[in-house]
């Protein structure tokens, strides 16, 4: 596999993750990205996401149970865990923190070139004010020295939104307060009748 891997972010996972962050505004949240690698084009297609936690994020048990179930469920469709999403607790914290890096490393064991997406609060604020251009996330990938590198000037090539209308649809969902409906793995562990697949979100 030559050259750098590119990532294409589908509308549904994108919306799910941002809404999850919105639902739990005062804490960090995270989630798992699901997709497949297309060898021919060196592109990872991110087709779904599972919101994970909104409290006690640094602890393993929830992550491990979720990874086991998610891998099992999606492998039937030829999909796997391809990355991780994180939103920091504080508005002006734009760094990929230690926990996010550690979890990214953990996920690298499942998928060697994962995407780690960090919610970009400033871009997100711009979106809420009606400026719709780029995806409101920052991409981090593993570089040769095994550290996490933020996608720089080539970010808009390395990470693209699959559907150009994604930000518009996201704004709609925000306006209608759809984020209240998001269920994450934490919610499921508190009440197993809640479905972390969020099947009714896009109906």
């Amino acid at each position: 596999m030559g050259g750098e891997v590119k990532f294409q972010l589908g509308q549904n996972p994108y919306i799910k993750l941002v809404l999850h962050a919105l639902k739990h505004r005062v804490s960090s949240v995270n989630g798992i990205l699901i997709g497949r690698l297309d060898d021919a084009s060196s592109t990872v297609d991110i087709v779904d996401a599972v919101p994970l936690s909104h409290s006690q994020i640094g602890l393993l048990p929830t992550l491990e149970i979720a990874l086991i179930q998610v891998e099992e469920l999606f492998s039937a469709d030829g999909l796997s865990v391809v990355g991780y999403f994180h939103a920091n607790e504080r508005y002006d914290d734009a760094e990929l923190g230690k926990i996010a890096k550690k979890i990214g490393d953990h996920i690298s064991r499942y998928f060697p070139q994962p995407a780690v997406l960090l919610l970009d609060n400033k871009k997100f604020e711009a979106l809420c004010k009606g400026i719709h251009r780029e995806p409101v996330v920052q991409l981090y990938t593993k570089d040769a020295s095994k550290g996490w590198r933020q996608a720089g000037i080539d970010a808009s090539v390395q990470l693209t939104l699959k559907e150009p209308s994604a930000n518009t649809v996201l704004s709609d969902f925000i306006a209608t307060e759809k984020y209240e409906e998001i269920v994450d793995f934490d919610d499921y562990l508190d009440d197993i009748s809640k479905d972390w697949l969020n099947p009714r979100l896009f109906k």
Partner: protein, 330 residues
């Protein structure tokens, strides 16, 4: 900590008020009592009462409590003008009050005027050195400015005075956990939770030393709510730390949590399964550790299957398969 009944009542009231069915004051009172952070709703419904002279006069002296509650909610929602108005009204009614002074300092905080807020809090503390809210605001300010080590220092100092503040211990533990994974910080976090368990005034002390288990004296599940939540936290910390000894201890904590919750706590049930699996991986060939608690883990697995059959049938195949792969289910 919000109990199941209280949460149900809160949601019922919230729905009622949201849909124009009245009960705003009851809702706001409950939010205040449970110390929840529902600032958007509080702002909306509280302001509606305050803006209507008839509703406002019905409150009598409670009116001032509402002004305070709305001021704080407004600051949380960055509606600083609303906050300012509420505080002005309060300071006219209670000139020179420290409680109002506290709100003024919070407003400085909300504006990001950190050093002015810090000066204000320091002044207020001179008059009321035992005001817990002010102490905690200083921690919150440090945290908001990204000064995590400052927040930790403040919190530790606070806890030296107010040792029985469970929320503060929990906050300290969470900050330690967020700082880094799998190192000594985790050990300190585990210690925090131990302190917490010992601090519980109404819960009969539950001794679970690292090397031995003891009997539990239970009066009612409600009393143990705090204990359960923090026991769960502690054992998740131990699991994350890893290593055979920690896993075995974690498994013991999970077992007692299962006992306390009558086998109904999903995290505890999954936790036993994860621990057992991890232990069997690490302890290959050390048959004593492997054989310990075989019945418990198989019961936990069965309980998970049963619960999913009843409440989450779509997830049943997934959970069964996971447990079979862990060799906990046949």
């Amino acid at each position: 900590m919000v109990g199941v009944a209280e949460e149900a009542e809160l949601n019922r009231l919230e729905n009622q008020v949201d849909n124009g069915g009245g009960g705003a004051w009851e809702y706001l009172t409950l939010v205040r009592k449970l110390k929840l952070r529902r600032s958007e709703k509080v702002l909306k419904h509280g302001l509606a009462i305050l803006d209507d002279p008839k509703s406002r006069s019905k409150l009598g002296t409670e009116e001032w409590t509402l002004y305070e509650q709305v001021a704080i909610a407004a600051m949380d929602c960055q509606s600083l003008d609303v906050a300012k108005d509420c505080i002005k009204t309060l300071s006219k009614r209670f000139p020179g009050s420290n409680r109002v002074g506290r709100l003024e300092a919070m407003l400085l905080e909300a504006k990001g005027s950190w050093s002015d807020a810090e000066k204000a809090y320091t002044r207020l503390l001179e008059d009321s050195p035992l005001d817990q809210v002010i102490h905690k605001r200083r921690v919150a300010m440090a945290k908001a400015q990204g000064n995590i080590s400052g927040a930790v220092e403040c919190l530790n100092k606070y806890l030296e005075i107010f040792m029985a503040d469970h929320d503060a211990w929990r906050e300290l533990g969470e900050i330690y956990v967020s700082l880094q994974m799998c190192d000594t910080m985790y050990k300190q976090a585990a210690f925090c939770y131990e302190e917490l368990i010992l601090c519980q005034p109404t819960v009969p002390l539950y001794h679970l030393a690292y090397a031995e288990a003891s009997e539990i004296i239970l009066s009612s599940l409600g009393d143990c709510q705090y204990f359960i939540i923090f026991a769960l936290y502690k054992l998740q910390v131990l699991y994350t730390l890893g290593g055979l000894e920690n896993l075995i201890t974690a498994k013991k904590y999970y077992a007692s949590t299962i006992d306390l919750t009558g086998g109904k706590n999903t995290r505890a049930l999954f936790g036993i399964c994860l621990c057992s699996h991890a232990i069997s991986q690490l302890a290959k060939g050390r048959s004593k550790e492997e054989k310990e608690g075989l019945e418990l883990q198989s019961l936990a697995a069965q309980a998970l299957v049963k619960d999913h059959k009843q409440k989450a049938p779509t997830k049943l195949p997934l959970v069964s398969s996971m447990l079979k792969n862990m060799k906990l289910l046949s």
